[in-house]
């Protein structure tokens, strides 16, 4: 799988885990063992999570994992059956949505059809009882921010999809909420518009210094916009971390498989030491993985390897016989910028390797049924114990 087209430049200049810096600070939003049941089925199951101020947080997961329910609980449309939700240290579990300093951008935009763009954007401010001229000034300011000047008098049915989305966004931004929630905002857009809107959202978020929480099932989207991602599965968090952490250091096979393509090789730990872990596997021989692991000799583990980390060549690798396999090309998937090769190793394991198409298709050096060698560095894999 190709990595995200653009990765998020860290705001403070680098470091994988920016949150370590803020660990001492109180989180803006805290979910404490929150549970929500629908007809006996737990959509959210004893979930705890911290979201920090100023971060762009993504809730990523397959359909039905509970991410939208979690978002709606934060907005106030659902109340948790168990647990608490804290905002700025205060319990807001019982506070109705119209009293929370939280605003949501709906997937369907939910623009009021009987109001103009101006009316829609000013709606929230009118509820706050602000004076007329201040409302007008703030509406004007935010419409300029989302580049909708000149469209104030139009009604929603006279706008394009992208314009409607910006009205929905403006409607939330104008209230300057503590947390802005976005429910699958890019789902309805085509690819080009999606990319442009992604940049706009990231831009707005860092410019205004707001806290965004986005819900999505598109991992590419989550990886490109988010500071941290919470990967959800059936009501609980499978992993929380920055995009590189999630992608390169998944903590379970499920996360490894959900976020991008991955090769999983089952094996047994032979030894663990300064040089990393040595694993014996039936399908791939002896593997060395230079990652910290809690596993002990004798444990069954899985080595997770991303397809793009595998080097493929016609000649056997020059280095040691660890981390290399011989096999035959089973199938090739051409994706334009990269090709994915399915290789059946001599020991019977089927692995996926991805390489950029450095040459044109007609000049492709490796083709079906070719004998190839796959190799990778000890740093390329991760040992998974669950």
């Amino acid at each position: 799988m190709a990595e995200a087209i653009s990765s998020k430049r860290p705001k403070n200049g680098g470091g994988l885990s920016e949150t370590a810096r803020d660990a001492a600070a109180r989180p803006l939003v805290r979910f404490e063992a929150v549970t929500k049941r629908f007809s006996g089925f737990a959509a959210v199951d004893r979930l705890s999570l911290d979201i920090h101020e100023g971060e762009f947080f993504a809730l990523l997961g397959p359909s039905g994992c509970g991410k939208t329910t979690l978002l709606r609980m934060l907005a106030g449309f659902e109340t948790p059956d168990e647990g608490r939700i804290l905002l700025d240290g205060e319990d807001i579990s019982g506070v109705p949505p119209y009293r929370r300093p939280v605003n949501m951008m709906f997937q369907s935009y939910a623009l009021f059809p009987h109001l103009t763009v101006e009316g829609n954007v000013a709606f929230g401010l009118r509820q706050d009882g602000l004076p007329k001229d201040e409302i007008a000034a703030r509406v004007k300011e935010v419409l300029a921010l989302v580049r909708l000047e000149g469209l104030e008098k139009r009604k929603p049915h006279q706008l394009s999809g992208g314009q409607r989305q910006r009205v929905a966004l403006a409607r939330c931004l104008v209230k300057r909420p503590r947390v802005l929630l976005l429910d699958e905002p890019l789902a309805a857009l085509d690819r080009r518009l999606r990319e442009d809107t992604r940049f706009e959202l990231m831009d707005l978020q860092s410019k205004l210094g707001l806290t965004f929480v986005i819900v999505t099932h598109d991992q590419e989207e989550a990886m490109s916009v988010a500071d941290r991602i919470g990967v959800m599965n059936q009501g609980w968090l499978a992993q929380v971390g920055t995009p590189p952490e999630i992608y390169e250091q998944p903590i379970s096979r499920w996360v490894a498989q959900f976020v991008g393509d991955v090769n999983l090789i089952e094996g047994r730990i032979l030894s663990v030491g300064g040089d990393g872990a040595l694993i014996e596997s039936a399908g791939a021989g002896r593997l060395r993985v230079k990652q910290k692991t809690q596993a002990k000799p004798g444990d069954t583990v899985w080595v997770a390897l991303r397809p793009e980390k595998l080097r493929m060549s016609r000649e056997p690798p020059a280095l040691a016989e660890e981390n290399s396999l011989a096999g035959q090309v089973l199938d090739i998937g051409y994706l334009g910028d990269i090709s994915i090769y399915k290789v059946r190793t001599d020991k019977g394991l089927v692995m996926k390797a991805a390489t950029a198409n450095m040459t044109r298709l007609i000049e492709r050096p490796i083709t079906w049924d070719d004998r190839v060698w796959l190799s990778w560095t000890p740093e390329a894999g991760v040992v998974l114990t669950q």
């Binding site: 907005a75 109705p96 119209y98 009987h114």
Partner: protein
């Protein structure tokens, strides 16, 4: 693409597109189909209306039919005589005799108040049905329409039974201790209102329900999210969006109610009459067809405004849906 001696595809076929692409309404079979309801409406609605207008311009006579002149198509003389005998005196009578004016005003007043009562009762019902779980909505709508499956006249008669001195309403009130003595319901304005509201309720409920049902629920969530408590969201979002339905329901009730006859006749008193009753009296009791016809024509003129507004709204809604 083609060899020199090959004939190109039949371009002629492209010049005359198949029926599929053409505008259907211009073809003669389409016009024929549209002609059928046109003819029907002309023969059974327009023509009778023209006859009524003609009778309203005639004078009463002790004859069969009880008016003169009778249209005699034999010869030009007959036609000239015919037109010379037409008169506007019936209309003059209408505007000078206070009986008729009072009757019109009373009808308008009762219709207006009934429409208001229907709105106050009908909107909550429509709202309740729209907010009910999906699988119940069809059942509830059928329940609202169920009374229509029985005869209108019989239902109004049933109300006589309920509203009479020893009727069900008084029994209930006495049992609940709300009153000590049975009240008089029949032959009062209250009875007329009860009858009208009962009979016309579906006409108010269904258009409002249709509009509310189309409303996106996430709009109310959005309103709440933006700081609007439920009661405010109701007035700022639900009601404005329900207005087309409310207007349609109101007109659908108001227009027929003005000309109501059965309900005021059976349930109401006889001192003050609605226009429907007045018309009936003129026609059957006084055998004054011309005046009765004039009453009908004026009634229609009164209602042309609301009818046109209703038509305009419906057309706009259809266009909006496209």
């Amino acid at each position: 693409m083609f060899a020199e001696n090959e004939t190109p595809p039949r371009l002629a076929a492209l010049a005359d597109p198949p029926l599929k692409g053409r505008d259907h309404s211009r073809t003669w079979p389409a016009r024929l189909v549209v002609l059928v309801p046109y003819v029907w409406l002309i023969v059974f609605f327009l023509l009778p209306f023209v006859i009524v207008v003609k009778i309203s311009l005639s004078q009463t006579a002790m004859a069969q039919p009880p008016y003169i002149p009778v249209l005699d198509l034999a010869g030009w003389e007959g036609l000239k005589n015919f037109f010379s005998e037409l008169t506007f005196e019936n209309y003059v009578l209408l505007f000078t005799d206070s009986l008729y004016l009072t009757s019109y005003l009373r009808s308008l007043e009762i219709a207006a108040v009934s429409t208001l009562l229907l709105l106050l009762l009908g909107f909550p019902i429509a709202y309740g049905i729209a907010r009910a779980p999906r699988r119940w909505q069809a059942v509830l709508v059928i329940l609202v329409m169920l009374p229509f499956w029985t005869s209108f006249l019989i239902r109004v008669y049933a109300w006589i039974n309920i509203l009479q001195r020893e009727g069900l309403l008084n029994d209930a009130l006495l049992m609940l201790g709300i009153v000590q003595q049975p009240l008089v319901w029949l032959a009062t304005d209250a009875a007329i209102y009860i009858g009208i509201v009962y009979s016309y309720l579906p006409f108010m409920v269904l258009p409002i329900y249709a509009t509310l049902e189309k409303m996106d629920e996430s709009l109310l969530e959005a309103a709440a999210d933006l700081g609007s408590p439920p009661w405010k969201a109701f007035w700022l979002v639900t009601v404005p969006l329900a207005l087309p339905g409310i207007a349609a329901g109101a007109l659908l009730c108001f227009i027929p109610t003005v000309g109501e006859f059965v309900i005021p006749d059976l349930l109401g008193g006889s001192e003050q009459m609605m226009i429907g009753q007045t018309l009936w009296t003129e026609f059957f009791t006084n055998r004054d067809w011309p005046v009765a016809s004039a009453l009908a024509v004026v009634l229609l003129c009164l209602l042309i405004g609301p009818i046109m507004i209703y038509q305009h709204m419906q057309t706009r809604q259809l266009e909006g849906a496209r």
